[in-house]
Symmetry: D2
Subunit: 341 residues, 4 copies
């Protein structure tokens, strides 16, 4: 079996487990007040060139999105997202369950368009019935998006301009951030992202950690009583150090970048191979997710031999499928997949 279904289906990086082993006999304080969380936060602040950033460690993407959105909004506000945004589609209603509406905009390769965002915010402000309408209180973006695509620096700045004009924060879901930062040709670095958005999370679960996400508030804007709000959401870890330590390892010696770079290299190898074999890519993704449209014959052939992700049915009967590489993908497996196709 060749495994390309997703990037959260492999173990965690060995360096993390070795570091865990070294903690035996240590005494650690609770709820993220420990030395590992502090060290990881310090390294993340440095990597973001954002010395004031506040960093907190959680255990999953949906949890982090739910907590961040709920904490950045007033109870009467909603979050704006692309119609394909994770919060709008694949979180089982976690945002609504915490009381907030997801207000959607059209997606453009998974991305929100700044002009369309401005139009939505302007329409809201100029609507005589606006008090009967959910106020758009923040913007959610994902980077990479659900289609593996990336914002450019100019696109992020344009979104930041619009949000600044309407005084709402931007929050970026970085579940696969390592793969976005490592993409060829991207001009969005960690410092650029930290500067353009008000909060974001650095994905660990899909990028080499065992489990964990690092939530970063970049504008001296840690929500009030944030520890209590984490607890209220069931998101506060007694052993916060267990998540902090993982980021301490990932942000030591450039490991996070290396893991991202490896996955992207594997994806590029796959992409080049697919193109060489005359296969058309469904989306031109610069990150670790690659999409092709498969006919039924191909699906039958893959069955039992290659684990892939189902994406969507096309009107012409074909099925968009995803091959995801990860920090742990082996070159020989990519080659085997290409040979098989």
């Amino acid at each position: 079996m060749l495994y390309f279904a997703s990037d959260y289906m492999e173990s965690g990086h060995e360096a993390i487990f070795r570091r865990f082993l070294e903690t035996n006999g240590e005494h650690l304080t609770g709820y993220g007040s420990d030395r590992y969380c502090e060290s990881a936060a310090e390294k993340i602040r440095a990597a973001c060139e954002c010395p004031d950033a506040e960093v907190r460690f959680l255990t999953g993407g949906t949890q982090t999105n739910q907590v961040a959105v709920d904490a950045l909004l007033t109870p009467w506000e909603g979050v704006v997202a692309a119609e394909t945004g994770h919060v709008a589609t694949h979180e089982a209603g976690a945002i609504e369950w915490s009381g907030h509406k997801v207000l959607t905009l059209p997606q453009h390769l998974g991305k929100v368009d700044a002009a369309e965002l401005r139009a939505l915010l302007k329409a809201y402000e100029s609507d005589a019935n606006r008090e009967h309408i959910v106020k758009p209180g923040m913007l959610y973006i994902s980077h990479p998006t659900e289609y593996g695509t990336l914002y450019t620096k100019a696109e992020l700045e344009a979104l930041a301009d619009v949000c600044g004009e309407y005084r709402i924060p931007i929050y970026a879901d970085g579940a696969r951030l390592a793969y976005g930062l490592a993409a060829r040709g991207t001009d969005v670095t960690l410092p650029v992202l930290a500067r353009c958005v008000d909060a974001f999370y650095i994905g660990g679960t899909k990028c080499g950690a065992l489990i964990g996400e690092a939530l970063v508030f970049t504008k001296r804007n840690l929500p009030e009583r944030f520890l209590s709000r984490l607890k209220q959401h069931g998101a506060l870890l007694a052993k916060g150090w267990a998540a902090g330590l993982q980021f301490d390892v990932l942000f030591t010696g450039g490991l996070y970048e290396q893991l991202g770079a490896h996955a992207v290299e594997m994806a590029e190898r796959l992409k080049a191979g697919l193109l060489a074999k005359g296969r058309e890519l469904y989306i031109d993704s610069p990150t670790n997710q690659q999409f092709i449209a498969a006919d039924d014959a191909l699906l039958a052939k893959l069955e039992g031999a290659v684990a892939y992700g189902f994406w969507e049915k096309l009107p012409d009967g074909r099925t968009v499928i995803r091959f995801a590489t990860s920090w742990a993908t082996k070159a020989e497996d990519v080659d085997a997949l290409l040979a098989f196709l």
Copy 2:
């Protein structure tokens, strides 16, 4: 420094980290559908003598309580708990945030009394205004309790009788279950607990795991669409195997029992030493938490030398403090603490 502040302030058991290391290169499926979760569930079913039990793995106590209570109640029901119950006091309102009232009963050494529970349920049923009152829809107990005390088998059966009579489920918070099962003289085994309650969780975070809790439904009563509800609460782990593996290790070769037994042995050593030195115990706890009433002189002496838990102020000016042993406590540290006092 001597560390007796709590039992979640040490690392995790080495066997778990070694097992994690062995997973390198493995491919695992997502959301708890993997081989480790299945293996751990099978071992837990066997340990509980409950072949039909459904087991799910979460990351923390408050999260597990919130999910379980919300899933076991209808939206218009509340949960009954002792006034000192964790859900009633130290969860930052996580239960209310998910829409449910905590209905409290007096605590007796941290425990709920079956007769008082029956009286509450009877009063509710016979109240002409009951549709204006929150329906008591389930019972929450903790075992051990927040005071380190334990229910007897007869007490659990009495609670089960009452709840059976009024057709409401019992849920047990087993954050420190290992220490309860290992207590001297207890007649509450895992099979007894599984038989008496409808759901409970086996605490990992405080009992040797890195992080994780195993939620067990014992009466073919897994709540409908439970995976979606976990996701809605932000409690669904993409890498569920990371929690499952830990319980697979803990329930192999009796490790969970051994870790519990060690902590209780250390607590008994501490207790005996305290009594030998003429110190009065504030509560006669058979588990890993030991309480004494300290005057200001003692508190001053402990400062900077011994990490302990603050419990409460007494009317006479003294302070109740807690010394908690754990699976990782060393006998020499207990002796050093006794020598110091």
Copy 3:
């Protein structure tokens, strides 16, 4: 000033106030258990030809929608609605605040298309990731719609077929139901509506009552503990009779039908006059709401002389405005409006 802004901006029908006066000195039981609520329910059951219907009286449309949607859904389900549906747009997030997502479908003159609904339900059922997606748990429609348009009997039956196939209930928002029932050429009567949907409300506030809406469950499907759920939502009236009495009056001697017929007659008079004057209607509405596209000159002319409703801006710069007639609109005011235009 000529008043055509909406249909909730006039007083209530005189017969209701006279009936209120007659209640002086009466003793009435609480929470909707009184003789007026029972009498009104009996008359509504007869008018709906639905002898088993359960009827409850609330005070406003958003409140009724919120209560009905919350009570008809499980906590993990969402409500499907047209993108222009009231619950999706103009309720300040009341549905999301109660924890549920609004899943939208394209609108066709304000209506949901049965084929598109089936496609959405089928796509959900066949999605391998459906447990990560909000389950579409009911259908919300409005009749008349937010554009004043009406479903045909065949359209309602088609929706009922789809919902029956997927076992989800249909709920109809009848805020302006009187005006829908009175429309020329409609084949949707109260019995037809009651047969096709699982629950609906008969609008009072906009149709001659002082305030109040009658929520009808037609399929022996009153949600469990409905009184408690009303109370939980702050929607239970101690003096439920005050709402019940109004419907008792409206459903005596055909008053509700007469009030609806009058408004539609006034709307038809307006429509005919507009067409005679060569004005184009923006939407061909058979009910009490009439829409035209106005240029800036017309808007300036109306300013201070005619109260109308703002609808939306068109790309060509014109503004869609609404003239609403009501049960209380006078023919001379319609004529004055036509003369003025």
Copy 4:
């Protein structure tokens, strides 16, 4: 049948219905922006000697409490109330359903004690684990209380001092405020109440209105986006004028005071009669609710002849019952009740 079960079981005052009749043909604006709401607010501001007060009109007590508590608290705060407070007992969990915990204090004849409140707030502030505990974010009191008792001016000022010290608002539930203001010997007037608390509501439903409560914010503290929050709660009336008009009538010519005074006079007549007949009062209530302990023989005698309210069972087997007078109670009915007993 003699009717003394409660004070919301009679119609509304005739003057209100006559005023409603006079509105025929009027055009009124929506959502509380009309002339009646403005006039009523102005009269209430004058009666409260609080020219800056903001007044909003809602339809019921539980609704008003839920909206006020939710709007005055942050999402992570709870409301402090006497254990017998309406929000703590008889609102079907409406406060918890909106996400907030009710933190209870012992009741003293239904009242909160300022010293106990200070102790609770101080204990919270000095608790090292306070971030894991729900923050007491406001105080709820009822005046009259659920036992018909009243705070003195000194007691209110003491509570205001404590709340001022800890910077949390006080909110008073005035469901039966007319009867409190009219009590003999009370030194709590509307201006005193308005000065001591941050928000309160003037009960209409139980004090002569058809339905309606006037929510008053006295400290330039109208919560942000309050109209949206009302809508979110389903508590915004399209025809807000229908509630406003009732308070306009009640606050014209001293009607509200007269209705309160009448009920209290009737209660005093009842009380004097009961004492004259040698009956012991269960609570010495100065308002319209009177309580006696009845044995089974008395209960049997009352059956079918006198409507009363059930209160609670006493350990000695007797039952505490309530006779409530109202603005509509007739002296001959009081005498008939006394003769019957």
